[in-house]
């Protein structure tokens, strides 16, 4: 039984008040936002950082001599330093991108294509997001390399033996997610990286789902590249990060070129500027980077331990209630240290989109579908799942409203099953 004292009510949640959007009504109901794995809501501090930038400091960065440009450049570089500190990197190892997808593609284009030779292997897992799967498929296709997939167990964790067995001297690159955006599974990236390094493979980590939890420490993980997005960690859309070890960034080719990233250009050729500028062609998402810095400040203020504690408590509570309903199938590992607050499930006899639609009629926002994980859906043998994913501002009420909403779904579609009321009651017994 999860400890109820961990699961604050809305009134007891000290963070809810920081998020203006939570005051919204949806279809006549309060909003229970449980789509945090897709994108998180933004605290006032992040919105204010954007407004402050545009009202006081807006200018283009790099080379600008005038005061606003100096200010904008300083704010931009301070944001880089904040992000670097947040993940245990040095500032020169942090490249601002448009998001995790772009970060991963930059490595696939600028690094993997130079690395891979025919017959080489790229090891992925069955739980990868398309953004950490298709770019490697493409890189493999273009170089004659082969993609392989480490299997997952029926409870949704990585099969470590299979991962080990598939690693071999032809494995040049391993790309895997730190946490699944469907199953919630946290992969033991530090160990997997050590194994991959033993065979000489380069390790690329998709941290889109763990950066928001303050779980990323690149020194501890020892991975070679790591990618995440601002919008999933309470920051704005249109900004993300690629971390790379300094020595590897020096070897990486810029996928895109243009203003701001060159050393010298003449009619015949161009040479590149230093890292990280080399990988930031054109005007970067300046305000977005500054506001991502504000999001990092906000998360540092809450503290990673508190982020984890809250989410773990609420996850346990929700899983227990869902597991108790015999018409609900939960995908992913049980509550505990090795999972995040991403909870995917199906309700017997109802299509995931129909579940999500009726939940929305009650003000509960969840996502339904393949969640950009079609390979995983094939493995789970389902066309899609319903996903409820927790954020900092979620409280007991949100989970209760999800459970009540599922009852409404059962009513609308006339499907039986243990009545949700009972399931919820059992969950809380």
């Amino acid at each position: 039984m999860s400890d109820n004292t961990e699961n604050t009510s809305n009134a007891e949640n000290p963070y809810r008040g920081d998020f203006p959007i939570l005051a919204r009504e949806i279809n006549g109901h309060p909003l229970s936002y449980l789509d945090n794995a897709a994108t998180t809501q933004k605290p006032r501090a992040v919105i204010d950082a954007l407004v402050r930038f545009y009202e006081h400091h807006n200018a283009n960065v790099h080379r600008g001599v005038h005061t606003l440009s100096e200010e904008a450049s300083s704010l931009y570089e301070e944001a880089r330093a904040k992000v670097a500190a947040f993940i245990g990197a040095s500032a020169a190892e942090v490249i601002f991108t448009r998001g995790a997808t772009e970060s991963l593609n930059m490595v696939a284009l600028g690094f993997a294509r130079g690395l891979l030779r025919p017959g080489d292997e790229v090891l992925l897992t069955e739980m990868e997001h398309h953004s950490n799967l298709v770019p490697w498929q493409e890189a493999a296709r273009e170089t004659g390399a082969v993609t392989r997939f480490a299997r997952i167990t029926d409870s949704g964790t990585l099969e470590l033996e299979d991962f080990a067995a598939q690693l071999n001297e032809r494995t040049r690159l391993v790309a895997l997610t730190h946490a699944s955006n469907v199953l919630g599974t946290l992969n033991p990236v530090a160990e997997l990286t050590a194994m991959a390094h033993k065979v000489g493979a380069v390790v690329v980590v998709d941290a889109a789902q763990t950066a928001p939890k303050g779980l990323v420490d690149v020194a501890a993980l020892d991975c070679d590249f790591l990618a995440f997005s601002g919008h999933k960690m309470y920051g704005p859309t249109g900004i993300g990060v690629l971390y790379g070890k300094a020595a590897l960034l020096e070897r990486m080719t810029p996928a895109f070129t243009g203003g701001g990233m060159i050393a010298k250009v003449d009619k015949e050729r161009a040479s590149w500027g230093e890292v990280p500028r080399r990988f930031e062609p054109g005007t970067p998402p300046i305000a977005g980077a500054v506001a991502l810095g504000a999001a990092v400040d906000y998360l540092q203020g809450v503290g990673p331990a508190e982020l984890r504690r809250r989410e773990a408590g609420l996850t346990a509570y929700a899983l227990e209630a869902l597991d108790a309903a015999e018409d609900v199938t939960v995908f992913g590992p049980p509550a505990g240290d090795h999972r995040t607050g991403v909870i995917s499930f199906n309700l017997r006899g109802v299509h995931p989109h129909d579940v999500a639609e009726v939940l929305d009629e009650t003000g509960v926002a969840v996502r339904a579908g393949h969640h950009c994980c079609q390979v995983l859906m094939q493995r789970l043998e389902v066309p899609g799942v319903v996903r409820a994913s927790l954020g900092l501002y979620n409280s007991r009420e949100d989970v209760e409203r999800l459970l009540a909403g599922l009852n409404r779904v059962r009513e609308v579609f006339g499907v039986s099953g243990v009545s949700g009321g009972e399931a919820a009651r059992r969950g809380r017994a």
């Binding site: 299509h351 129909d354 009629e361 339904a368 579908g369 393949h370 066309p383 009513e411 609308v412």
Partner: protein, 147 residues
Amino acid sequence: MAGPEHSLYRQVILEHARQPRNAERVEPHSHVAEAVNALCGDEAEVTLRLENERIAAIGARVRGCVISQAAASLMTEAVRGLPLAQAARLGGVFRQAIEQGETGALPPELIPLAPLIEVRKHRSRIRCALLAWEAIETMAGETAPGG
């Protein structure tokens, strides 16, 4: 029981989804086409047999949500007896009605489909309502050059 006023799930839609009409493959058939909604992976396979250039039998097998199932079921009832080209044109009218949210001027064949017009407020579901119609359009497109 019906949902709230803004609900997609009117009684008629739930009934068609629960007991879809013409949900079997037509054998033998003169035409077959599939449509897939790339956004969610839902699929519709439509088979039909033309006799005297008109749809004499039609079947729609759908793997998908309530909306796509009900829409397919309603579609099969709307087009039976029509020439294929006219069925496809009807699909275009239905698409437009959804995009513009107009129920007033629906042709008689489409009146039973009026409750589906509600999907216009749920843009992610519009393709669900059109999935089976896409298969009809595909068939009509294929036969168009030949006549």
